[in-house]
């Protein structure tokens, strides 16, 4: 019997569970390798050759090349891993959030200074469906 995933109706949220961990393994191992300067240098010198070392899927590899931050998560990446790719590019956690939410850096930063995204209207997928968001 399958485990119940009672967290799948939270909107705009991808819970990094064991299934995602399995799917994203090589992608995440690539990302974490970038925490070391020598690896960052090798990656930045020749992204393609460096990516060849990691047997990720073609889609995952394309999302890395495109720096498609949401796609990376949809394909099994975890934010703590993908943030290493962000750091390599000089992008902070907060700037990544500005990109992933589609708000842009300024609007996102202002939302946080004003107290953050409120929980009301953001707890259940149907609340987003009603607003026409996905």
């Amino acid at each position: 019997m399958a485990l119940k995933k009672d967290y799948e109706d939270i909107p705009g949220t991808l819970v990094f569970d064991a299934d995602r961990g399995r799917e994203g393994y090589h992608l995440n191992q690539f990302c974490i390798s970038l925490r070391l300067q020598g690896n960052r240098d090798a990656f930045n010198a020749d992204e393609g050759a460096y990516l060849d070392r990691y047997p990720m899927t073609a889609e995952q590899r394309q999302a890395v090349v495109d720096r498609d931050w949401n796609r990376l998560l949809e394909l099994g990446g975890n934010i703590y891993y993908t943030s290493k790719l962000g750091a390599n590019d000089g992008i902070t956690f907060q700037q990544l959030a500005g990109l992933m939410t589609g708000m842009g850096n300024e609007a996102y930063r202002k939302m946080m200074v004003d107290g953050g995204r409120p929980p009301d209207g953001n707890r259940y997928q149907h609340e987003w469906d009603d607003k026409g968001e996905n």
Binding site: D6, Y7, I10, P11, G12, T13, L14, V15, F16, D17, A18, G21, G24, Y25, N28, Q29, C31, I32, L34, R35, L36, Q37, R40, N70, L73, N78, I79, Y80, Y81, S83, K84, A87, N88, T92, F93, Q94, L96, A97, M100, T101, G102, Y108, M111, M112, V113, G115, G116, R117, P118, P119, N122, R123, Y124, E133, N134
Partner: protein, 289 residues
């Protein structure tokens, strides 16, 4: 014998470390965040712990995806700050009470909490930021004013250990500490949180009301609080808010009745609600003021 005198709950936002390391703490954005720790720094000078038992999580820095221990106890002699992608934090190397750590490891495993034993380990912002917040600015040539036993908890790959498991692990840590012969004062830190979501389209979620009830119930209803299901953290406190399970380990290690000595809450530090609380066991009135 060794005694746990107090517990500290504390966020460990990486940007806080960056702000301290770059000397930005007086800037208007950061000043209110740091102001709430002034009293804590005075308090911990008086509390004078010999050992801090520090519960934190690694953020895919030292532990990659190849192995994911639920509970990993630091048993090495020392722990260097890790390079997380922007260079290691310029803070002192963390030194362990290695004899006590091996005692705790043995005691916990016989108490049926199966620790992974770490004889080599670097530490990331999850461990160094709370130390910086509580002990202030210290550079690479300084020393932290106490020894530190790190306990690293998996909260990155779902599921984290349950709140109930964490609370009971706290009780087992207390038994381990109290069966150690040396006369030592131990303060336990539970770190992480509070509400925050770093990822995907709902990033930026903050829930002050939920965070407040969490801090309230640490004194009024700690056992009930430890029963909070994971999905409630994820929904109400954001996908990364589940880090708060680590606070139950701290709380479980204290007396059933504690005094709240200090509390601080500030939004935002980067993407996160900063929460901080100091809880003291009543038999140590010297530290509860």
């Amino acid at each position: 014998m060794a005694r746990i005198t107090a517990g500290v709950g504390c966020s460990h936002v990486p940007a806080i470390g960056v702000a301290m390391d770059l000397g930005k703490t007086d800037e208007p954005y950061w000043a209110p965040c740091f102001a709430g720790f002034e009293k804590s720094r005075e308090w911990i000078k008086d509390a004078r712990p010999d050992v801090v038992f520090l519960v934190y999580n690694d953020h895919c820095t030292v532990f990659d995806a190849s192995f994911i221990p639920t509970f990993a106890l630091g048993c090495a002699a020392e722990f260097a700050p890790a390079d997380e992608g922007w260079g290691p934090r310029p803070v002192p190397v963390v030194r362990n009470h290695q004899v006590m750590a091996s005692h705790v490891a043995q005691s916990l495993i016989l108490d049926e909490f199966d620790m992974t034993i770490m004889n080599e380990m670097e530490v990331d912002h999850g461990l160094t930021v709370p130390l910086s917040l509580m002990f202030g600015d210290l550079g690479v040539d300084d020393e932290w004013p106490c020894l530190v036993i790190p306990l690293c908890v998996n909260v990155v790959q779902y599921p984290a250990p349950t709140g109930n498991r964490c609370y009971n692990l706290g009780k087992a840590i207390r038994r381990a500490v109290e069966s150690f012969d040396e006369d030592l004062k131990v303060v336990i830190f539970g770190t992480g949180g509070m509400s925050h979501q770093l990822q995907y389209k709902r990033a930026g979620l903050i829930n002050k009301e939920w965070d407040t009830q969490f801090m309230d119930r640490l004194t009024s209803d700690p056992v009930g609080l430890s029963q909070t299901p994971h999905v409630e953290y994820l929904r109400e406190a954001g996908s990364e808010g589940v880090e708060l399970v680590m606070w139950h380990i701290m709380r479980g290690a204290l007396d059933d009745e504690v005094d709240e000595v200090h509390r601080h809450y500030h939004v935002p530090a980067s993407n996160t609600a900063v929460g901080h609380i100091i809880l003291a066991n009543r038999e140590y009135p010297g530290v509860a003021k």
